[in-house]
Symmetry: C2
Subunit: 253 residues, 2 copies
Amino acid sequence: MYVDTKQRLDTADAISDSGFAPRTVGRYHGTRAPRHVDDTAWTDYLAAARTRIERFDSHEVLFHEDDTADHLYEVASGSIMLYRLLADGRRQVVDILSAGDLFGMSVTGVYDCSAETLVPSDVRVLDKREIERSADLQNHVNRCLMGRIEALHSHAVLLGRKSAAERVASFLMRFVPNRGMIGCTGPKAAGGDDKVVVLRMTRQEIADYLGLTIETVSRVLSDLKRRGIISIEKNDRIRLPDVCRVCRLTGIH
Amino acid sequence: MYVDTKQRLDTADAISDSGFAPRTVGRYHGTRAPRHVDDTAWTDYLAAARTRIERFDSHEVLFHEDDTADHLYEVASGSIMLYRLLADGRRQVVDILSAGDLFGMSVTGVYDCSAETLVPSDVRVLDKREIERSADLQNHVNRCLMGRIEALHSHAVLLGRKSAAERVASFLMRFVPNRGMIGCTGPKAAGGDDKVVVLRMTRQEIADYLGLTIETVSRVLSDLKRRGIISIEKNDRIRLPDVCRVCRLTGIH
DNA sequence: CGTAAACTTGACGGCTCTCAAATATGGTGG
DNA sequence: CCACCATATTTGAGAGCCGTCAAGTTTACG
């Protein structure tokens, strides 16, 4: 029988190499080296609290799994991935956050996953005790948490029940607002139904998010290209000439 | 090639049959038929709000995906599963809740998944507007939501990166408190390290939770039995003669 | 222009799914 | 209490999707 399956690295080496993150060694440009930016431009809900904004480069780690959780974060711009690692190096990206999303909440006092920027990002940082002071802020946090839960439910369906092709199609649809979900506007009556999506993620990150390997992600994309469903303008710029067609491949309908 | 993969039902029939829930037809003893029980015995946090407790039988549906979300629920006793369905009948159980857990929160105003009892359960029901009234209650809701998010993160790792054997082992460890997670007490010094777990779920429900098929779940359990790692006393009563041994199969260590 | 990293492609194997049948379990009525 | 039936579970055989390993090829960047 085979002992530990899926997406593991050539264990001992890579682990001792960087301490984590299989096959991604070298993309970690040092951790926690933000430049202080400013204290203005607060959002509505966070206006009452004392906050600061920190700017991070691409692929910087904000915190690691098991670090003590003393801060709460809000994505001001850019995008952040949350991931967990198994002891043998398998990685699962559990969530991808964009502007307005909160993260860093913890019941245990310790972060349950690591947070890393996918692109240069501005992140608002506040002390976690701040939220207890304002009812409005608590309410806002609440709504954000519910939103994350719904996203995680969708992701569980994707990981548990969708084929590789369906996962990739669902992933592409993430970048098309108001399509493929409730309240889908459908293809615009006049004109075509095409859309260019910019992934801003490596194949490894996509694979780790979708519970696949980079080879499978690559093969599915090549297949979609061959069938004329997408065209790859740049590695992370993908044109969907017919959004509806992609949507029908997600497994949702 | 096979068209739509994984865990689908013999489509047209079963769908038109009950409207949902593949292979589970007949376990739905009618929906929304709770008996009113009492209004006392409130928990600390919900004491301030006007609530009622409803009692449900095993496998009753509390609400369906897409129902308008006007209530908030708390499990008082028993256990509830939340699941989503794909159009072709594939089901994914996204969460399993027990006493103290909240559910039914929604940002969209519509439930994002269905809720069904696994065993006879008491459920506290409150109007969702109630939570906005009390800061303490909001804080409590917050903590519950964070707990769900951490559980969903774990589940994403399981669904995305674990083998069938690891999933089943992880599932069994759910029923052993304070083991296999942070703060694991380890095997008690004196005496053995055995434990009897009562699943109170069908193989289909376990499979739909773990992102597997019923047959795979069964095969893994048979294999664990053959290797002496578990013994099956009844279909849903499983003895773990060596908890640590099961824990080492979860893929976490 | 040269090197390293990222990505693609191919060959192959295996874990898990599908389909099918046998066995066990649980509830019901005689 | 026991035969009988429907349902749940187990087991078997075979297939296929996707992972692994190992090249190529392209891209990125100094």
